[in-house]
């Protein structure tokens, strides 16, 4: 799928913004991406908008505010992978010859506190079974039981990502933290402490995709190709899958949605995990990042702790993970988070990431996974 390029990217910072509407944030991100791409009104033939909490026709409101409507505008919900789903639709439409240029964006303005999800039935809420962080805690405990990962490793993930995020002006939290302070933050759901969980928040991200033979953008010499954009759901059976079933089978051999998406994405790109230079992955909680190392094939089963300890996944290491600071620094606006990762990787591949630059990065992988289950894997190359 090397016939699609990222012609421009735009971002509204992730955080909490009183008085700024979801449309305002979307306008900021989309306008930024269009400007970079040199695309104006009439310059794109379709738009795809990822959001989980935005409500009806969120994408239309954003493009309506920009005075750019009339083309198909498709609003896409796929939980934490909503932006990845939108990117898949937009890029495949170009690949199929349907369009030359599309705008893909994600926007969100999350409620505060534990995320309320219409995914759960009322009786599940009433029984206390809609306790989203508790599922993260159970998954973390099982992972620790089988992988050699300890609470100290979970704290080390937070320290790493917050250190990276301190250099990201668009992150919500921009300060270093100490492991002792992470472990001293209150327990939300054992083994997860408050600082090991990302904060639901607000933000927007946008990319302009263009058929590669339409010519690269004038502003940026280093063209970034979109090699794959894959979305997968869960296979039935795993009790702690992000699909949040009430029961599952005693079968630990089922591939996870992340592994399904990664396998397909590597095949689509004609690449393997060893070709990746930089990763943005789903660190909803600190354990989720370490699970992703294994599920994405970045290390062998049981190798995540060693990879972290050796500094491989820190900026300056062989394979930096979450140089943006990850969701632990940026917070997670569901619809925008996947495209926020893509914006970060595009900056990294262009060499524009400043103090958090991964030097010489040529291939980047973005990963999101969440409710549905939905897992998205995106591979970008310069």
């Amino acid at each position: 799928m090397s016939d699609v390029e990222v012609a421009g990217v735009g971002l509204h910072p992730f955080g909490r913004f009183e008085g700024v509407s979801i449309s305002d944030m979307g306008v900021t991100a989309v306008r930024g991406a269009l400007r970079e791409a040199g695309v104006g009104k009439g310059g794109f033939q379709a738009a795809f908008c990822g959001t989980a909490y935005g409500g009806v026709a969120t994408g239309h409101k954003v493009l309506g505010a920009l005075g750019m409507t009339g083309m198909p505008i498709v609003d896409v919900e796929a939980g934490c992978a909503s932006g990845a789903a939108a990117l898949m639709l937009g890029s495949k439409a170009i690949g199929a010859g349907q369009y030359d240029t599309v705008v893909v964006f994600g926007v969100e303005k999350m409620p505060r506190g534990i995320i309320r999800s219409s995914f759960f039935e009322p009786w599940q809420e009433e029984a206390g079974l809609a306790a989203t962080p508790a599922y993260f805690g159970l998954r973390a405990q099982r992972f620790m039981q089988t992988s050699g990962v300890t609470k100290d490793h979970l704290a080390a993930v937070v320290v790493k990502n917050r250190r990276h995020g301190a250099h990201n002006p668009d992150a919500m939290y921009r300060s270093d933290v100490e492991a002792a302070d992470v472990l001293a933050s209150r327990v939300v759901c054992e083994p997860l402490h408050l600082w090991m969980l990302c904060s639901p928040n607000e933000g927007a991200a946008a990319v302009v995709l263009r058929r590669a033979d339409k010519g690269t953008s004038a502003r940026h010499g280093a063209a970034v190709q979109l090699d794959s954009a894959v979305l997968r759901s869960h296979l039935p059976g795993a009790v702690l899958s992000e699909s949040t079933p009430m029961a599952g089978l005693t079968d630990d051999t089922l591939p996870t949605p992340t592994t399904l998406a990664a396998t397909a994405a590597y095949e689509e790109a004609g690449l393997g995990p060893r070709d990746i230079d930089v990763v943005e992955c789903q660190d909803t909680d600190a354990a989720r990042e370490l699970m992703s190392y294994e599920e994405l094939g970045l290390c062998a089963a049981g190798g995540a702790a060693e990879m972290l300890d050796a500094g491989v996944t820190s900026v300056g290491g062989r394979l930096p993970v979450n140089p943006s600071g990850g969701l632990l620094s940026k917070g997670e606006p569901l619809g925008a988070s996947a495209l926020g990762q893509v914006v970060e990787l595009v900056h990294q591949l262009r060499g524009e990431a400043g103090a958090r630059q991964v030097h010489g990065a040529r291939v980047g992988l973005a990963h999101t996974v969440g409710r549905g289950a939905n897992a998205g894997v995106v591979i970008l190359r310069r």
Binding site: G128, A130, E190, P245, T250
Partner: protein, 145 residues
């Protein structure tokens, strides 16, 4: 058994949090299903097997005893929940080859261990607007004499 925990049959004028999840026998059992095509059990019961998509399923009472496979505690009331916190939350592995998400009667994770024997109970979640106790399912540690 901690205060608030009681068997469904011992209570009068209670309402289950949802019909068809568990029996009102003593001891109570979860009401799942079994697929005749693939042989897997599931919970709650579905007319279509969630694992192989066969429509050849039938209701099945699940074992009241199982082993603890994963656990944590919920320390803040999640959305839509009107009961008390903290409460235990975990996964019980049943002999039918099924792992079930459930509340646990033990809210202190330090008091539980992997593979611990657990049995199913019902417990009052909260009292509804009409004054009726609303009852759900949970698993409790088997007391060692």
């Amino acid at each position: 058994m901690r205060p608030g925990a009681a068997t469904f049959s011992a209570m009068s004028a209670t309402v289950p949090v949802r019909q068809g999840l568990f029996t009102d026998t003593d001891p109570p059992h979860l009401l799942g299903g079994r697929c005749a095509a693939c042989g897997h059990h599931h919970f709650p019961h579905h007319d279509i097997c969630p694992y192989c998509a066969s429509e050849d399923t039938e209701p099945a009472e699940l074992s009241a005893m199982g082993r603890l496979w994963a656990w944590t505690a919920v320390t803040h009331a999640p959305p839509g929940y009107k009961g008390e916190v903290p409460y235990g939350f975990g996964v019980i592995e049943l002999p039918e080859g099924l792992r079930v998400i459930t509340r646990l009667t033990e809210p202190d994770p330090a008091k539980l261990h992997f593979d611990q024997s657990m049995h199913m109970v019902t417990e009052v979640l909260h009292v509804d607007d009409e004054g009726r106790p609303v009852v759900g399912y949970a698993f409790a540690p088997v007391e060692v004499p």
